[in-house]
């Protein structure tokens, strides 16, 4: 019966006897583990980024837009249905506000506009909104203030600039109090929005300008056929759990009001949390895919270990015969060679983990993604490399253990 410390010492001695060969053998596992760790970290980082940026659109948020949803989730207007883009009205918004568990309703009208200030031009989206819009979208004012209900009702010529617009039009000046021309009319800048960064779909959320809804309807998107239509209604609920129920209630309500039946809707209610989930799932599949491909290289590393262990058993046949003659049992030999394989692969796993973390850090900082490395994944990588050692070391160790001592001692 061999002591564990002697077993470990003999494995260590065998691996140190041929350091270059041991290192090269472990290299397969090192590369395998490093790429699995790096790829999974990269995928998790991308996933976290997508979730974070979709959440930045606003939490507990339903967005109602005109037009029917077709097929795989895209929003399109029903072909040829005139007036379809005008199906949502301020009255719809008011009716939605009556639904229980709805905390904020913010109708808005979007228009493209050319902004000019200081001789600088910027083409951007002007969003005609009510003051409630900020709360609905979890948006903050960075500088200055938002317009109030009165200014909104009176169709004042004031704007709140998105961070990008403010930077483009007023690179060196404090924009508050400055005037800006929007499609020819002169507006006063009263505030600047806090930056939200890119959306999950790669769009710059800060490239926008907020103006009172009434103002936009009357002075900017003047071509609108009806004065009370809006291009979007943002609906915020008390909690995320309410989203599903409220979504159904909004749909029922709008069908009643528009006299349409399910399947013929002239509007779409988007649930951002479900979009978030879908996007997160997509990136997760992507993560598993990357990890799976990398795992193949771990497999190749395992085969390398098996190869070298088989060579080693052949080379050390005489030693094995001698050990048996001196009293080693089959299990002693099995453990000795098995442990050598496991030590090789676990050492490879540890080095690979370190390299993988380093690689993940380099790549995520390159793509400015968050670095996400779950400790259990790191442990899993080590455990997995140990498993590779056991699996691929088992056969060579078994061959060694089964050697006939007389034959083995006779070998040159």
């Amino acid at each position: 019966m061999m002591r564990t410390s002697d077993l470990v010492a003999s494995a260590g001695r065998a691996l140190r006897a041929n350091p270059l060969r041991s290192a090269l053998t472990a290299l397969g596992v090192i590369i395998g583990v490093a790429s699995v760790v790096a790829m999974v970290a990269l995928g998790s980082g991308a996933q976290a980024q997508v979730e974070r940026s979709i959440a930045s659109l606003g939490s507990n948020l339903l967005i109602v837009v005109p037009g029917a949803q077709r097929g795989g989730g895209g929003v399109r207007g029903a072909a040829g249905a005139a007036g379809n883009w005008d199906s949502l009205t301020l009255d719809d918004a008011a009716a939605i506000a009556e639904i229980e568990r709805v905390t904020v309703v913010a109708p808005s009208q979007r228009a493209r506009a050319q902004l000019v200030a200081n001789g600088l031009n910027w083409n951007t989206q002007v969003e005609g909104v009510t003051p409630a819009y900020l709360e609905a979208r979890d948006w903050r004012i960075e500088q200055g203030r938002m317009f109030d209900e009165t200014e909104e009702r009176q169709a004042r010529r004031v704007v709140v600039l998105g961070a990008t617009v403010a930077r483009e039009l007023f690179p060196n000046v404090n924009p508050i109090g400055e005037s800006v021309r929007v499609n020819g009319g002169v507006f006063e800048v009263i505030g600047v929005l806090a930056s939200k960064g890119q959306s999950g779909f790669g769009m710059d959320q800060d490239d926008v300008t907020l103006a009172p809804l009434t103002t936009v309807k009357r002075r900017i998107s003047g071509r609108s056929r009806r004065a009370d239509t809006v291009s979007q209604i943002s609906v915020k609920t008390a909690s995320e759990d309410d989203l599903g129920v409220v979504q159904e209630q909004v749909e029922t309500l709008l069908r009643q009001r528009h006299r349409t039946r399910p399947g013929e809707d002239d509007f779409t209610v988007q649930n951002l949390s479900s979009i978030t989930q879908t996007a997160a799932q997509t990136t997760q599949v992507f993560t598993y895919l990357l990890g799976g491909i990398s795992a193949v290289s771990l497999l190749v590393g395992g085969i390398g270990i098996m190869n070298i262990m088989l060579v080693s058993v052949t080379e050390r046949t005489r030693e094995i015969g001698l050990r048996k003659a001196l009293g080693a049992r089959q299990s002693d030999i099995l453990h000795q060679f098995g442990l050598e394989a496991v030590a090789l692969s676990v050492a490879g796993g540890v080095v690979g983990l370190a390299l993988g973390v380093l690689g993940a850090w380099l790549m995520t900082s390159l793509f400015s993604l968050p670095l996400v490395i779950a400790p259990q994944n790191a442990l899993l990588a080590i455990a997995f490399s140990g498993l590779v050692g056991v699996l691929f070391g088992a056969y060579p160790a078994w061959r060694a253990a089964r050697l006939d001592p007389i034959e083995a001692l006779r070998r040159e």
Binding site: M2, A325, L326
Partner: protein, 237 residues
């Protein structure tokens, strides 16, 4: 009278080579008492090594029965045989069979590792054994740094380190020059006088003459079993 250390009855070892069957041992019976020093001689292929392998628990007989120090060799499983080799037998090989990367001391420790002896006790016993065979100054040398005779002394120290009941040597002087061979034989005689039972295979008549008893084999059978005259035995020492 105490039971003999080795008791073999009608031992048969067959090797099957395709259609042919080789009778390497053909109904061999003998007994070796404790404290004996026995040389096995015979022409090449007569079954000497085959017998030694069975005595050492490296192989099991095809037929017959052999009991060594109370253990029925034919009835032991792998773990039983391993323990038997470890506790009861000390092997000395013609080609020394030392581990090249380990020092003399570590080589001598090897059987005790499989016996589960603590490192401290192992080291002490190994050092004792090396001193006993006259290598007290060479403990940290590696085999390549030792002469053939010194290497065989390390191997003998290794064989004795587990305090075996039986020392087996298959042509231990075969790879040594005649003077070094004589020195090794002198060591064996000394060990035997201290009580170690020794069985040795040899082609060398002088070596055989140094033993107390000579068993001669031919074609897998024992053809003669003679006690050497005490005078010759003592004269050689």
């Amino acid at each position: 009278m105490a039971p003999p250390l080795i008791e073999a009855a009608d031992l048969v070892k067959l090797y099957r080579m395709g259609d042919e069957t080789v009778r390497a041992l053909d109904s061999v019976s003998f007994a070796i008492p404790r404290g004996d020093y026995c040389a096995i001689v015979g022409p090449s292929g007569s079954g000497k090594s085959t017998l030694m392998n069975i005595l050492g628990g490296l192989d099991t007989p095809t037929g017959g029965r052999i009991v060594i120090d109370g253990a029925d060799i034919g009835a032991l499983d792998d773990a039983g045989l391993a323990q038997f080799r470890n506790r009861t037998i000390g092997f000395v090989f013609q080609s020394f069979n030392l581990l090249a990367r380990q020092t003399a001391l570590e080589n001598v420790e090897l059987p005790m590792i499989y016996a589960g002896v603590t490192p401290k006790e192992r080291r002490e016993r190994a050092a004792q054994m090396l001193t006993r065979v006259g290598l007290g100054e060479r403990m940290s040398h590696r085999p390549t740094q030792l002469s053939g005779g010194q290497q065989q002394r390390v191997a003998i120290a290794r064989a004795l380190s587990g305090r075996p009941a039986l020392l087996l040597a298959d042509e231990p002087t075969g790879a040594l020059d005649s003077q070094t061979g004589k020195d090794i034989m002198a060591l064996f005689a000394e060990l035997n006088r201290e009580g170690v039972t020794i069985v040795i295979v040899t082609h060398d008549h002088e070596v055989a003459a140094a033993a107390k008893r000579t068993i001669e084999m031919r074609d897998g059978r024992i053809v003669s079993d003679t006690q050497n005259t005490r005078a010759r035995h003592d004269a050689h020492v």
